[in-house]
C-alpha cells in the first residue's frame, strides 16, 4: 500500500482540533497519531467513500492521493463481482473503465457481451495495487462525526477502533450507513452459478420469482431469485435453496455450484441524496445497471465537486 503526503487543509486542522491533535503526514501513518481517547488516526484525505463500489473505486483509482475507500467485506465492486448480476459488459468511456475492461478481456473473463463476474473483484485488487489507491478492508463504520468543516469517520477493523479524517464523505453502500436508505430499495435478489449439463433450455424454469441468466463463459448460467426488499442474508439463502431444489426436482442434470457473495439491489429510482448526517451524500453504487457506467460516473464525481 502506498505512503503519500497530503497538503494541509483547513478542514483537517478543524477536525484535528476536535478529534485529536495530530500532525498532517503520510496517509498511512507509520506510527499512527492518536486522539486523546487513544484511538489512532490512520488516514487523512479529501474524500472518504463508504463501500468499495465501482463508483467509489472509479473515483479512488482516478484520484488515489485524495481518497480513502472503506469496505466492510473483503470484496471489491461487490455489487457486480459478488452479486454476479448484472453482468453486461458495455463500452468503456473513462480512463479507469477502459483499464478495467482491458484487464477483464486480457484475463479471458469476457464473452457473449458479458463478463465473468467473480474474478472482477480481483481485477480491481490488481488495479488498486497498481494505482496505489487507499483501501481499508474489513472496516465496519462505527461512527461519523462532524469535525470543524470536515468529518471524522470511526471504524472497527481487525485491530479494533481507528479513525479517518476527511473533508467529505460519500456513502456508496447499498442501504446507506445505518440503513438510512433502506426504504429506497424496491427489491433484492440473490444469485448462484449453476453447473452441469442440463437437458434443455434452463429458461423453462423462469417464474415471477426466479430466472436463469446467461453468463460470459460457454455454458455459464446464473440462477437469480427475486426477494422482498427487507430480506436478510439468512432468509435470502433459504429462498435460494428452496428455488433450486424445486428446479432439480424436475431435472437433476445440473447443480448449484456456488453462491453470490453479495445481495443484489433494485431501487425505486436512481438517486443521490442526503443521508443520515448533513453533508454526507448517499450515492448507492448498486444503482448502476452496468460496471463500466458505474466506474465512469465515479471517475467524474470528484471532478464535478
Amino acid at each position: 500500500m502506498s505512503v503519500m503526503t497530503l497538503r494541509r487543509r483547513t478542514f483537517i486542522a478543524s477536525a484535528a482540533a476536535s478529534a485529536a491533535s495530530f500532525r498532517i503526514g503520510p496517509i498511512w501513518a507509520q506510527t499512527p497519531k492518536r486522539s486523546p481517547s487513544g484511538v489512532p488516526v490512520v488516514a487523512e484525505c479529501e474524500t472518504v467513500f463508504l463501500g468499495a463500489s465501482a463508483y467509489a473505486l472509479g473515483a479512488a483509482l482516478k484520484n488515489p492521493a485524495k481518497t480513502v475507500v472503506l469496505e466492510q467485506s473483503l470484496m471489491l465492486v461487490p455489487e457486480f463481482s459478488g452479486a454476479l448480476l448484472p453482468n453486461v459488459l458495455t463500452a468503456a468511456e473513462g480512463e479507469i473503465a477502459t483499464l478495467v475492461r482491458e484487464r477483464i478481456e486480457k484475463e479471458g473473463l469476457s464473452g457473449n457481451g458479458r463478463y465473468h463476474a467473480p474474478p472482477v473483484s480481483d481485477v480491481m485488487s490488481a488495479l488498486v495495487m497498481h494505482r496505489k489507491a487507499n483501501l481499508f478492508l474489513n472496516a465496519n463504520v462505527a461512527d461519523i462525526r462532524r469535525a470543524g468543516r470536515g468529518f471524522v469517520v470511526e471504524i472497527i477493523g481487525p485491530d479494533g477502533y481507528s479513525t479517518i479524517a476527511a473533508e467529505r464523505v460519500i456513502d456508496t453502500m447499498p442501504t446507506a450507513w445505518r440503513d438510512a436508505g433502506a426504504k429506497a430499495i424496491k427489491e433484492k435478489f440473490f444469485a448462484a452459478p449453476l453447473v452441469g449439463k442440463p437437458k434443455g433450455d434452463l429458461g423453462r424454469f423462469a417464474t415471477d420469482k426466479r430466472e436463469v441468466v446467461p453468463g460470459a463463459l460457454p455454458g455459464e448460467n446464473i440462477l437469480k431469485v427475486r426477494l422482498a426488499a427487507d430480506t436478510d442474508w439468512h432468509n435470502a439463502r433459504l429462498a435460494l435453496y428452496d428455488a433450486f431444489e424445486k428446479m432439480v426436482a424436475e431435472d437433476d442434470t445440473f447443480s448449484i455450484g456456488g453462491e453470490a457473495t453479495a445481495l443484489g439491489y433494485l431501487y425505486r429510482e436512481a438517486r443521490t441524496q442526503a443521508a443520515h448526517l448533513p453533508g454526507v451524500v448517499w450515492h448507492p453504487g448498486a444503482q448502476y445497471p452496468d460496471l463500466m457506467n458505474a466506474l465512469t460516473a465515479g471517475e467524474l464525481c470528484l471532478k464535478s465537486k
Partner: protein, 617 residues
C-alpha cells in the same frame, strides 16, 4: 464494571457504572461462526439453548464454506450445499444470527463477561449472555475478556500461511479450490491487513488458469492466528510421548502440516525432529484433547474452541483442519449445555455427563497406537532395533513422492526408523537406549555409503558419537559420506541441524562458512536432485523443486540456529560478532534471506559475544 474496547490491537478498559440496557439476553453467544463456531451454535441451539451467533462475514462455516476448502462434486456436498445445511440447521433450532457484525466492546464484571456491544452498519446493540464462546480465529473476545493470547511462532511471531481461494469448476466438472497463499504477521494495523488481503486477491487471478470461478471466496483462510492461554495446554511432545488424556472432549489423527517447508529451522525442537530429521510428513499421530484446553484461563464463562484451543503451535499445525475445528466447536457447546442445564460453572462440568453429549457426535473415539499413514491409513508399529538398522541401510530417495502417492506402500521405512530412534531416546529404557546406540555405531562404521543415515539416527538420539561423520558431511558435502540422493531435507541439511545440538567447537567454522556464503556452494549440487515430477501435480508449488533459493534458505537458517545453540555451549565472541555483522549488513544473497537475518539479529544481540536465543528453536 469494565467496558473493554480493542484499540490498535490492544484491549483498553474503562470503568462504567453499569452496562447499557441490553436489547436481548441469551444463554450463549458465539462470536465467530467459522468451522468451530457454526457447529457450536447449532449444537447449543439443538439442545434448546437460546443462542446468538455473531460474525463479521455474511455466512457461517468459515473455511468450510466461504473459504471453499476442498471440493465435492455436486449439491449437497459442495460449498452451497454446506452453507445450506448450516443455515437450515440454525433456522430449524431457532438460533439467532447477526451477520456482518463486529464486536465493538465487551463488559466485564470481575472474571465474568457480562455482555457485548455489537455493531452492524453503524447500528450498535447491547446483548448479554450467561456463557460465551470465542471462535473468531483472532481471539477478539478472549482479548477483551482479559485472557492471555499467543500470536505466532516463538522466535519471530510468524504465522502459518493464509490463503484466498477461488472455488472453481474444473474442465471435467469437478469443483474445488485454487489458492493464493502467503504468510503474514499477526494483529497488524487495518491498513497493512488490507494491503495483504488485496495482494492475495490479485495474486489468485494467476491461479484461475481459465477455469470458471464459482466463488471468489470473500474470506481469508487462516491456518493460525491466536492461541489463547487455557487451563491446560497440550504440547506436541505430550501427544507423541506423554500419557494420553483419558478424558478427552475429542480425539483425532492429525498430520503435521505447516505449509512453509523451507523455513522450518525456526520451529520448535520436536517440530524440527518430526519434519526435518525424521521427515514424518506422511504420518498422522493421535491427539486426545482434554476439556480444560477449551477453557480460557482467568475467565469464568468463556470457552475457546477453534484455533484458540489450548494446544501448542506444533499440534495446531495438524489439528487446525476443518473436521477437527468442527469437533472442537461441538465439544465446547456440549460443555455449555451441561453447565447451564446443571446450573454449574464451566469448570465444574463432570466428565461423565459431558461424555454423554460428546458421544452423540462420536467425538471421543478411542485411538489406536501409535501412528498411521496419513494417506494410506496403514497402521504402523514401533520398530525393533534390527528393523531400524535394516530400514536405514538404503538410499533415502523417495521421501517427497510419498506425500503425493497414495498407495498402500507409501510409508517410508527410513522415516519411521528415525522416529523410532527418537522414541527410544525419549521414553526407552536405558538398556534399550544403549543397545540401539551400539548397533547404530557399528552400522555407521561398517556401511560407508549409508553412514550418514546412521549418524543422523544417532544424532536424533543426542549421541555425540555421530559428530565426526556429521563434521565430514558439512566439510565435504557431496563427498563419500554424503552420496547425492533425492530428498527434501537431505543428509547434509540434517547434519547442520544436528551439529548445532551435539557438535563440538570444531563445527563452528564450517557452519559460519555456510552462512557467509549464503549457502550457495553448500547446496549447489542439490539442485541436480529431483525427488518427484511435479508436473504431475499441477497447482502444487514446492519450494525445493529445482529452486536454489529454497535449499539456500534451509541451509542458512539451519546454520544460524545451529550456531546459536553451539555458541551457547562454546562461547566465541569473535564468531558471534561476525554473525551479528552479517545479520545487520543489509544485503541479501537470495530471496527471503532478510527474514533469516532479522531472526539472527534477535538471536545474536548479546553484548558479550554470546547468543541470547530463546533456545526453543
Amino acid at each position: 464494571m469494565l467496558e473493554v474496547k480493542m484499540i490498535a490491537g490492544k484491549p483498553v478498559t474503562r470503568t462504567v457504572a453499569a452496562m447499557p440496557t441490553p436489547a436481548g439476553h441469551y444463554d450463549l453467544i458465539v462470536v465467530g461462526l467459522g468451522s468451530a463456531g457454526a457447529e457450536a451454535l447449532i449444537v447449543a441451539a439443538e439442545a434448546g439453548l437460546k443462542v446468538l451467533g455473531v460474525d463479521v462475514r455474511a455466512a457461517m462455516g468459515g473455511n468450510w464454506t466461504l473459504g471453499a476448502i476442498n471440493g465435492a462434486p455436486k449439491w449437497p456436498g459442495n460449498v452451497p450445499g454446506r452453507l445450506a445445511s448450516l443455515e437450515r440447521a440454525a433456522h430449524k433450532h431457532g438460533a439467532e444470527l447477526a451477520y456482518e457484525t463486529s464486536v465493538a466492546a465487551a463488559y466485564r464484571d470481575g472474571q465474568r463477561i457480562v455482555g457485548l456491544k455489537i455493531l452492524r452498519n453503524g447500528i450498535f446493540r447491547d446483548v448479554t449472555a450467561n456463557m460465551f464462546i470465542d471462535a473468531t480465529g483472532n481471539a477478539t473476545l478472549a482479548l477483551l475478556a482479559g485472557a492471555k493470547v499467543r500470536f505466532g511462532r516463538a522466535v519471530d511471531g510468524a504465522q502459518f500461511t493464509v490463503s484466498r481461494t477461488y472455488y472453481v469448476e474444473h474442465a471435467d466438472g469437478r469443483m474445488g479450490p485454487v489458492y493464493s497463499g502467503k504468510c503474514r504477521s499477526p494483529n497488524v494495523p487495518v491498513a497493512e491487513q488490507s494491503a495483504f488481503a488485496t495482494e492475495l486477491a490479485a495474486g489468485r487471478l494467476g491461479f484461475r488458469n481459465k477455469r470458471r470461478v464459482l466463488m471468489a471466496c470473500p474470506y481469508i483462510g487462516a491456518r493460525e492466528e491466536a492461541g489463547v492461554e487455557t487451563d491446560v495446554v497440550l504440547s506436541f511432545r505430550e501427544c507423541l510421548f506423554g500419557p494420553r488424556c483419558e478424558k478427552p472432549v475429542f480425539t483425532a489423527w492429525v498430520p503435521y502440516d505447516i505449509h512453509r517447508i523451507s523455513d522450518r529451522a525456526f520451529e520448535t525442537e520436536p517440530s524440527v525432529n518430526w519434519e526435518i530429521l525424521c521427515r514424518m510428513s506422511p504420518f498422522a499421530y493421535p491427539v486426545s484433547v482434554p476439556y480444560e484446553a477449551l477453557i480460557a484461563k482467568g475467565v469464568e464463562n468463556l470457552l475457546v474452541p477453534s484455533r484458540h484451543m489450548g494446544i501448542d503451535r506444533d499440534v495446531l499445525a495438524g489439528l487446525r483442519m476443518v473436521a477437527e475445528m468442527q469437533m472442537s466447536g461441538k465439544a465446547a457447546a456440549a460443555a455449555v449445555v451441561v453447565a447451564l442445564k446443571s446450573g454449574i460453572s464451566v469448570r465444574e462440568v463432570p466428565y461423565g455427563e459431558l461424555r454423554k453429549h460428546l458421544d452423540r457426535y462420536n467425538l471421543a473415539r478411542p485411538l489406536r497406537q501409535p501412528h498411521v499413514g496419513f494417506y494410506s491409513k496403514n497402521e504402523i508399529a514401533p520398530f525393533t532395533d534390527d528393523q531400524i538398522i535394516q530400514a536405514l541401510k538404503r538410499d533415502i530417495g523417495n521421501a517427497v513422492s510419498w506425500v503425493f502417492h497414495r498407495t498402500p506402500d507409501d510409508e517410508d521405512r527410513s522415516s519411521y526408523a528415525y522416529y523410532s530412534c527418537w522414541d527410544v531416546a525419549e521414553r526407552g529404557s536405558q538398556e534399550r537406549n544403549s543397545a540401539l546406540r551400539s548397533k547404530l555405531v557399528q552400522a555407521m562404521h561398517a556401511e560407508k555409503r549409508y553412514s550418514a543415515n546412521y549418524a543422523t539416527a544417532l544424532g536424533i538420539m543426542g549421541d555425540p558419537q555421530a559428530v565426526d561423520i556429521l563434521l565430514e558431511i558439512v566439510r565435504n558435502p557431496g563427498g563419500e559420506r554424503d552420496p547425492l540422493v533425492d530428498y527434501v531435507y537431505p543428509n547434509r541439511l540434517k547434519a547442520i541441524c544436528l551439529l548445532g545440538r551435539i557438535g563440538s567447537a570444531e563445527a563452528v567454522k564450517p557452519l559460519v562458512d555456510i552462512v557467509a556464503d549464503g549457502g550457495e556452494q553448500y547446496t549447489a549440487t542439490l539442485l541436480k536432485a529431483k525427488a518427484c515430477d511435479y508436473s504431475k501435480y499441477p497447482g502444487w508449488v514446492y519450494p525445493f523443486d529445482g529452486r536454489a533459493a529454497g535449499y539456500r534458505f534451509a541451509a542458512v537458517s539451519l546454520a544460524v540456529v545451529a550456531l546459536d545453540l553451539l555458541l551457547k555451549r562454546h562461547p566465541d565472541p569473535g564468531t558471534a560478532t561476525r554473525i551479528r555483522e552479517w545479520a545487520h549488513d543489509g544485503k541479501t544473497a537470495f530471496p527471503d534471506e532478510a527474514q533469516i537475518k532479522a531472526i539472527a539479529q534477535r538471536l545474536f544481540h548479546g553484548a558479550e559475544g554470546r547468543s541470547n536465543g530463546n533456545g526453543k528453536v
